[in-house]
Amino acid sequence: MKKLMMMVVATAMFGACCNGDAGVVINEQDHENIAYNKSYELSERVVNAKSYEEYKVAADELRAYEEAFRTQIGGDSYLIFLEESNAILNNI
């Protein structure tokens, strides 16, 4: 019984570790387009949110994409993502 419990806990911990890395992955072939489209789509959702919950979901996703562009792509596409997002966010 004790062994079984240990196995269950170990499996759960392993699963948690594996899922920890799951995040936004940017397609390296199409990152410029994604930068334009996602920054527009997510920033619009952020500024047009009708409730805090709606805002939170969109803002978290926007932040996740920002981090993904910063860590995975960088360069011009990351700058495009920031500039486009800022242009929309500053309108509010």
């Binding site: 009708k50 805090y52 966010l89 500053n90």
Partner: protein
């Protein structure tokens, strides 16, 4: 007893071997494999070409210094100088791009700060508990009044500073008076920060109203004659 001594000896030998291997490994890792000055200079030039940031450029410059040092140690000063004469023009050219890199990095940092700052403000605004319209307007009016009062205080400090500057010239720049002007400058800066904090608070209240009510808060502009006083840095 004998066994214990033997195992201790084995442990000491093993540890010594480990340290020696570690030191050798470090030495091998840091060793530069020299070819010819021309080929090494070409290698550095290729890396300098690929550098697209100030940090990358610094790495290339460090590498150049390491190669030069290695040439000096292995073949003497003449070859090191020859290597340097081949690499320096390339790095000078790359160094000219440094200003552009610094500007690009500053612009990127500005965009990042704006992005994070705007989301932080929106977080704060969404979490803010707003009262009715009257209460919100009263908060804004209170802030406006505080800004007017603090702007007047700042204007008085600026006037004091200007007068003191004239007195200092007349008195022949005594140190005690110079210290006093430093204190006044700090006070002016502190007052400017207080004003900026209140303005920021008002901007968050307005943003909160816009986000939570989906409409613009209409605020009557206060008498802001004092607010147009120049900032200390403009003087």
């Amino acid at each position: 007893m004998k066994k214990s001594r033997k195992s201790r000896l084995i442990y000491i030998c093993g540890y010594t071997a480990f340290v020696v291997l570690l030191l050798l490994g470090t030495r091998c890792e840091s060793r530069i494999h020299l070819t010819t000055p021309e080929r090494d200079a070409k290698h550095i030039a290729e890396l300098a070409e690929l550098a697209h940031s100030e940090a990358e450029l610094k790495v290339v410059e460090k590498m150049r210094a390491n190669y030069e040092e290695a040439y000096r140690k292995s073949y003497g000063g003449a070859k090191a100088l020859y290597f340097r004469s081949l690499v320096d023009p390339i790095l000078d050219e790359a160094g000219d791009r440094r200003e552009q890199y610094a500007m690009d990095e500053a612009y990127l940092a500005e965009q990042q700060a704006a992005f994070c700052g705007k989301l932080r403000d929106m977080d704060k605004a969404w979490k803010m508990t707003l009262g009715g319209d009257d209460e919100v307007l009263a908060d804004i009016a209170r802030n406006d009044a505080a800004i007017v009062a603090k702007s007047a205080e700042r204007a008085a400090l600026i006037a004091d500073k200007e007068q003191l500057a004239l007195d200092i010239i007349d008195a022949g720049y005594p140190e005690s008076m110079l210290n006093k002007i430093g204190e006044l400058e700090s006070a002016i800066e502190a007052k400017s920060r207080e004003i900026a904090d209140i303005q920021y608070d008002s901007s968050i209240i307005k943003l909160a109203y816009r986000l939570q009510h989906g409409a613009e808060l209409i605020v009557e502009e206060p008498e802001m004659d004092v607010l147009v006083e120049p900032m200390p840095e403009e003087l």
